[in-house]
């Protein structure tokens, strides 16, 4: 089975940057996610929105990547938000308590 690379795009939105994730968020997504985050803060964003609308698969390694990103952002006192999470992944963000450390935007904001 082929591993689908995560496709990442970064765009500005208000005072922040939106990092849109499409595809699978797994171990192979590390580089793409790092690069996107670097691009987002390089533009001087006040906060980062991770848009999961088109991320159809997030596994435990993907969660670990988000944790790593969140740790980085915390060190830089940067707010991270999550958008476009399905009910299932919203539940997972709650179970893992990721939702305690990032704002989960409701569907109406997506």
């Amino acid at each position: 089975m082929t591993v689908h690379e995560l496709e990442v795009s970064v765009r500005k939105e208000g005072g922040g940057a939106v990092v849109a994730l499409a595809g699978e968020l797994n171990a192979s997504a590390a580089e793409a996610l790092d690069a996107a985050y670097a691009e987002a803060i390089a533009g001087g964003a006040g906060h980062v929105v991770l848009d999961f609308e088109r991320a159809d698969y997030i596994n435990s390694t993907g969660i670990a990547l988000i944790v790593g990103l969140l740790a980085q952002a915390r060190a830089q006192a940067l707010e991270v938000r999550a958008r476009g999470l399905s009910d299932h992944y919203r539940e997972i963000f709650e179970i893992t308590r990721l939702s305690d450390f990032m704002t989960i935007e409701g569907k109406e904001h997506a």
Partner: protein, 536 residues
């Protein structure tokens, strides 16, 4: 003058002729005559019939026959031949040279010789018989000790005991023919509650067959542990057997793998007699195509499956049963065996039933013609707790351990449970748990080695859905690090990773692990009661 005493009755020794000649000479003793090759009367030589029918001494000079033996006798100077006939069969001839007095043999001489022949023939016959029997006894002894070796090899490679299988009765029967054939059977415990069953037959008998049987059995055992699909197992064993197989030998073999929880029996057949399965509805044959082992490499073996419900039983057997004969030389045959299976009651052992029928058919005094082998497998009727809990198999798949393959596991499981109508959130959680369990198996159990498969089985019963994920890792305690603490992870006191098992346990109602000899299984269970009503 001497009679021949070789085991071959129609042989005339030249020594006899020498003795006869010696009698004609004045001086030297017969004992000094050199050993010479015997004069043989060929079976089609007319002299044989003539001697056999002669009632008295025969004048060789006067005899005119187109006979090589007669020419030889004449050339050797034999005058008178006195046939020794016992029970109508020529067993020797007294050959006499010319009379010492240079007179012809008188009628008294002839009478004397005829009387002597009448006395000597039976005595000679007895002597010949004794020698024949002694020779036969030596041959038989050698043969018996070879049989003993064959028997030892054979019995050494049959299972000493059968595995305990809760909810199942397994029985085996093996009775070698006097001249041990090449039958064998085996019951192989496999990881994850599966059991392999083998019944086979090597062409030929005796020690060669026993050796090929032991090789086949060892190869089967080894492949059964490594490969899951019965057809692949037979294919592998065939490829390994082919290069070393003695000419004109081959092995027929049925190999089946039973999942003892679900009753699913998957099987492949290398040209062996077709097993019967007795169900509530009648008797079915477990047919699958395949060539016998050891004939040609690269063979493919069709794979079939059957599900054994509580109360069902299977008979695996060798051709010793159907090829048994009755006193009129009729064969027992497949239809009769099938009928026997059909009529067997569930209270009585299928093996006993077949043996009773067979004994009635062959009669009490019949010698057993070939090895008789049976393995039966019966699923307990009635309260079969384990079976009822685990129910039927919805899917079974094997994945190589390569990054990303957990997605395939997720998709397959989703397809397998599609008809169960799980509420969407339950299904999503199951999918995540399956993905994590598969990744865990590929990474920690199989170290992402593509040659080590992960086996996934989906079982469904009335109130339970279970997904078992088995890897080939060594028996181990699953790594269970400290419970992930996000704050610690964000502070760098814990690694960002380590979410897999935590997620699995949150996603399903039960998660069980078990380590067996050569596999580690993580079982994910969703309890189904209440689903569709109050599922979250």
């Amino acid at each position: 003058m001497a009679a021949l005493t070789k085991p071959f009755r129609r042989r005339l020794r030249r020594q006899d002729r020498e003795a006869a000649n010696a009698a004609a000479q004045p001086a030297p003793a017969a004992a000094a005559a050199p050993e010479q090759a015997p004069v043989e009367i060929a079976p089609n030589d007319p002299l044989l019939a003539y001697f056999q029918g002669a009632s008295e001494a025969v004048d060789i000079d006067a005899l005119e026959l187109d006979s090589p033996a007669l020419r030889e006798l004449k050339a050797a100077g034999v005058r008178l031949a006195v046939p020794l006939v016992s029970q109508g069969e020529l067993i020797g001839v007294l050959n006499l040279g010319p009379r010492l007095s240079e007179q012809d043999y008188s009628s008294d001489d002839r009478k004397l010789l005829d009387n002597l022949a009448a006395q000597a023939a039976p005595a000679l016959r007895v002597g010949q018989l004794v020698r024949e029997q002694e020779a036969e006894a030596v041959t038989r002894q050698r043969f018996e000790s070879e049989l003993e070796v064959a028997r030892l090899i054979q019995q050494n490679f049959l299972p000493k005991e059968l595995p305990e299988m809760p909810g199942w009765q397994v029985a085996a029967y093996y009775r070698p023919a006097r001249e041990v054939g090449g039958d064998f059977y085996d019951v192989i415990p496999l990881p994850d509650g599966r059991v392999g069953f083998v019944v086979g037959d090597v062409t030929d008998k005796g020690v060669p067959a026993a050796l090929v049987m032991s090789a086949t059995r060892s190869l089967l055992r080894a492949s059964a542990q490594r490969l899951i699909e019965p057809g692949e197992v037979l294919g592998r064993v065939n490829d390994q057997l082919c290069p070393d197989m003695p000419k004109a030998m081959f092995v027929t073999c049925l190999y089946g793998v039973l999942d003892r929880d679900s009753g699913l029996l998957r099987f492949a057949n290398a040209g062996h007699d077709v097993p019967y399965v007795k169900t509530a509805h009648g008797v079915d044959e477990l047919r699958a195509r395949g060539m016998p082992l050891g004939l040609m490499p690269g063979m493919e073996y069709e794979e079939k499956e059957a599900t054994l419900a509580p109360g069902d039983s299977v008979l695996l057997h060798s051709d010793g049963i159907v090829e048994s004969h009755d006193p009129e030389r009729d064969m027992f045959g497949f239809p009769r065996l099938r009928d026997t299976v059909a009529r067997a009651s569930s209270e009585e052992s299928l093996i006993d039933r077949v043996l009773t029928e067979l004994a009635a058919f062959t009669g009490p005094d019949a010698a057993q013609e070939d090895d008789i082998t049976m393995v039966t497998l019966q699923r307990s009727a009635g309260a079969d707790v384990a079976g009822a809990q685990n129910g039927r198999v919805l899917a079974e798949l094997s994945l190589s351990s390569e990054p990303g393959n957990e997605r395939e596991a997720i998709d397959e499981v989703e397809r397998a449970v599609a008809d169960l109508g799980l509420p969407r959130p339950r299904l999503e959680r199951l999918k995540t748990a399956v993905g994590e369990a598969t990744m865990n198996a590929m990474e920690h159990g199989n170290e992402y080695r593509p040659d080590r498969p992960v086996l996934i089985r989906v079982l469904h019963s009335r109130d339970r859905l279970s997904v078992r994920v088995t890897d080939r890792g060594e028996a181990r305690e699953l790594e269970r690090p400290e419970s992930p603490d996000l704050e610690a992870k964000l502070d760098g006191r814990q690694k960002p990773r380590g979410w897999g098992l935590f997620l699995i346990e949150k996603m399903v109602d039960e998660a069980h692990e078990r380590s067996e000899e050569d596999g580690h299984t993580l079982e994910l269970v969703l309890r189904l009661e209440g689903d569709g009503h109050d599922g979250p």
